[in-house]
Symmetry: C2
Subunit: 604 residues, 2 copies
């Protein structure tokens, strides 16, 4: 029996494992929470890993079935079928991690030299006396001038606190300067913190950053509390348009939640919220407008124009965010009515990937999906109303990716293997599970390419007016059966059709075909859960080698971090936003034809 | 009987009068509310006018007594003793008007070409469409760029309202730009208003201005409500230092009062407060700090340093002022701990006077008096703690200049002539009355030059431990007697001594003597009430020809107006503030000697 060292990238975890342990067992032993649907029988096709370095066992029959020869050549394997034969370096793609693991906000550090918009300067002043009666403000500005710092004004909130603080600190302090304004003051020993936020319509991810080192000090995620007033953007906008005070309420709940996250993040590293001297927030255009309490009437009806496209800098106090009150919140620019700052942030953080490829598709999948096609120096974007099916909504047994949600599923003849979040008894099925289910039903020939569910399997039932496929049998009076209905399949068809048609419009506008795509970047939480093979099976994503896909997780949050710690990255974001050519789907030639084709259930 | 036309400058009033009417009667007939203490017997010496043009009767014995030959040559006369002999142009100095007349906020228009810091631009936009999806903000900024206006950002409060307004107004609007920011938006038919405020420790004067024409549309005065928490600056600062929440309260009451004045002013001309697109506020350094809620510890103890000296621009919403919320309040610069923006404003508005003279004294008399000596291009300032006696406080029967206050007083042997505010039965004596009383007691030989009250007049009584002079006899159980006590004389001595010593320190620092002064500018409410002759009699002001004195009324308010309607005037204010050399009295050589000399009661 031999022991090998295995590194699991990008988790940072590693462990010593025996040669008779599968890579899946090794992962679990090392604390890497990988998916295992079938319990290691090789049916699951879900525990994909890529061997980056080192020797492993030969592929099994299951693996030969699961991967193309090209994929095998690239090192793709099923972790439950593969055994180490030496020290290994493995890549665990986000899609092979369990939901809860993937839900966690990313904490990886960034490889960019910090150069934040808010700069810190230490100052040592002479105390005033009867022979030196200079006012405190001019004393500070004079010292900065002596240091060659271009700064001419001091925020009123800094003026309100600086005088007693300077005296308490013996006339030594650290001042924080943005453009030509002092926005905060602290002791020389103090920190220079920043808050990056990805404000999603479903989830909020918040990161506390050290602006000097560029390091992520703490990260936290939470549900967007606006959810209580509408599952999706459209219903939230309706709420605001219809309810008096709705806009105010919608802003309040989200700012309250941001403040709660801010306090928790600070608490984690024993910092005070007023040590945070800048924040960058990204979100889609609707989240952006609701956060800033901008009017939304013109966003909710044709031609769907945002109030503002450019980046907005707003005083933290004007937003109600409890960071240092004289500092700014920077909101990245939007692209159009339904392609927002979050997509800009995603393009910013994945620039390193798409810049070196030829034809790249960057996809953010959600209730509203944004897709960009990057062709050299040209970027075109569309917004696809993919609807809430991907989020598990409008699906008979659909649910969010919470405990008991079936998140992965495989059908082998009459055996249904599935995996639930937190590995408890299933109580519903979440988006990635529904996607798997439809793909598996299609592969099993139970759903045909037009999306019709055939009554050709013992688990298909015609119940009243409803045809459905039973995934998990119910238990009387306690757990109802979990099924996928014909209607659920139709909902997924509409969702994937909307997304795929957007991709096709982009390709058509550039005169390119899907086969020419070099790389597909898939961002966002849902995009990280899904099994790419399933998405290809139903034609949601173009059929390409697995290697072409990169699931990058919360790229919008990463973009927010970059814009927080680097002025040049912030300028790049503005540059990206102004460069993108937005294409309105409804106005695209042959759109209906493209959409009809895209709603089929077949690989293409 | 002949009729002559008489113009009363600077009131703007005129009338036709008979040749057998005294100039005083003519004034009253024309609606000019001139002082008359003695009822026209020529004893009062208070109804001074200056004949600027036209023929009048020969001087009476009373007038020959009241004026020097030089003064008579300059046209100075007593209005009750003089009769017209042709059409006349008369100058009525502020000191010859009744208190209530003088208390009224000035409404004279300004002779400066309007060039406000906030500029208005009309814009006409193309409505967005499916083929023109530009965001509203970029659409507005693009149009301004087309017009050659340098503007790159829009305040968040404007963003919050512009989109529905633009649609309601058919894509036509007027935008208000300060520096490179849109701070407000209105319909093209809308006005461009401004609010100028002189925030005194006792009184607030507020002016609603048309920024386009430079005209004063409405003016209102009110008491400073901070008065409830302290008569004078020192007690208000103590209140803030000692009471938890005192600073917040002190700011709130004054901002509430400013908002009340704003609403009343707007109401008067059927305007909305959000049509006001900028405000300029001036006040002394303490009022400035309390308004902005700046810390005051360092202002209240040596070396008495303000938080900030330079002009402050603060968003109206950050101050809580209910003008258009994206606009700014501009606070003029301070000079030093106790020489504030109000003095800068006074120097600004009187620049036309002092610039053409050689050696000029500019005096703002109050609980705290500020004095500047302008010698060509050099300006030096002092702050004198003259105390509250001039305001009628700490005087036995002292009161503010309200109905029933004796404001003017003359002693002729045993006859006491006096004038009360609103001409009702006397209930007390206000600052100008006390000043007159001490001067008249000195002239009558009842008070000697060291300030001692002698028992040499039937009206002098030694009551218990108190020696006093009875001005008005009391009526049993209803009206007590009104008296001037020895202690009152001492209080006035301290007040005038503080002021005069400041003047002497300034002169001494320049190596000049009081006889060399070409002009004395006296600003502020109290300075406008006082009888200059009385002030000279007791040595409060240097003995100079009457012609050297110019009582300019609320010059600080006028300075605020100038800085509101003219960018170059605003720059001049900054220039004046930076040029002034502040002299700390306590540190001046021989200060104690100068102070002792200045507290005597004698002309010098």
């Amino acid at each position: 029996m031999k022991f090998y060292r295995i590194d699991f990238k990008p988790t940072g975890k590693s462990g010593k494992c025996r040669d008779d342990q599968s890579l899946l067992d090794c992962a679990h032993q090392a604390g890497v929470d990988m998916v295992s649907i079938c319990g290691g029988h090789g049916r699951g096709n879900c525990c994909k890993v890529r061997v980056l370095g080192g020797a492993v066992s030969e592929p099994t029959a299951n693996e030969l079935k699961a991967f193309s020869s090209q994929e095998l050549k690239e090192g793709w394997r099923l972790a439950c079928q593969t055994y180490p034969k030496g020290d290994l370096e493995l890549l665990v793609p986000p899609g092979s991690m369990t939901t809860m693991q993937r839900l966690q906000v990313e904490g990886f550090d960034i490889d960019v030299a910090p150069d934040p918009a808010v700069q810190a300067h230490n100052i040592c002043l002479t105390a005033p006396s009867m022979s030196d009666l200079q006012a405190d403000a001019e004393r500070i500005l004079g010292e900065l001038r002596n240091q060659g710092v271009n700064c001419s004004t001091i925020d009123i909130e800094v003026l309100k606190t600086a005088s007693p603080l300077l005296r308490a600190w013996g006339w030594e302090a650290k001042v924080f300067v943005k453009a030509n304004e002092i926005v905060a003051i602290g002791p020389q020993s103090g920190r220079q913190l920043g808050l990056a936020v990805d404000l999603g319509s479903t989830k909020i991810a918040a990161y506390l950053m050290d602006l000097k080192s560029g390091k992520t000090l703490a990260a936290k995620g939470a549900m967007n509390p606006q959810f209580a007033y509408g599952d999706d953007i459209v219903s939230r906008l309706s709420f605001v348009l219809e309810k008096k005070g709705g806009g105010k309420l919608m802003q309040k709940v989200v700012v309250d939640e941001l403040n709660r996250l801010l306090f928790e993040l600070c608490d984690e590293v024993s910092a005070r919220p007023d040590e945070v001297v800048e924040s960058v927030i990204v979100g889609n255009t609707a989240m952006h407008h609701l956060l800033l309490r901008l009017p939304i009437e013109q966003l909710a009806s044709a031609p769907y124009v945002p109030v503002v496209k450019d980046a907005v800098d707003i005083k933290a106090r004007d937003l109600g965010l409890d960071i240092a009150p004289g500092t700014y919140v920077h909101i990245l620019p939007n692209i159009a009515g339904f392609v927002g700052a979050d997509h800009v942030a995603m393009l910013l953080s994945t620039k390193g990937i798409w810049q070196k490829e030829g034809l790249v598709l960057a996809v953010d999948i959600g209730t509203n999906s944004e897709v960009s096609l990057i062709d050299g120096d040209e970027i075109a974007s569309v917004s696809c109303a993919s609807g809430p099916a991907f989020e598990g909504a409008e699906i008979k047994d659909g649910m969010r990716a919470a405990a008991g949600a079936i998140e992965r599923l495989r059908i082998s003849d009459n055996i249904i293997d599935y995996l639930t979040v937190d590995k408890v008894r299933p109580i519903g099925i979440c988006g990635s599970g529904v996607l798997d289910a439809v793909a598996q039903l299609r592969l099993a020939g139970i759903v045909n390419k037009s999306g019709r569910m055939l009554n050709n399997h013992p688990r298909v039932h015609d119940d009243e007016a409803r045809r459905e496929f039973i995934i998990a049998e119910g238990e009387k009076n306690e757990f109802p059966a979990i099924t996928i209905t014909q209607k659920d399949v139709r909902a997924i068809q509409l969702a994937k059709g909307a997304l795929r048609s957007g991709i096709e419009v982009l390709l058509s506008a550039r005169g390119r075909s899907s086969g020419e795509i070099d790389k597909v970047i898939i961002a966002g939480a849902f995009g990280s859960y899904i099994d790419i093979s399933s998405a290809m099976t139903i034609g949601m994503l173009p059929a390409l080698p697995l290697d072409c896909f990169e699931q990058v997780g919360n790229a919008a949050g990463m973009g927010a971090k970059l814009a927080l710690i680097s002025r040049s990255k912030r300028m790049e974001a503005q540059d990206i936003a102004s460069k993108v050519h937005y294409i309105e789907l409804a106005a695209a030639p042959d759109y209906v034809k493209i959409l009809v084709e895209a709603t089929g259930v077949d690989e293409y």
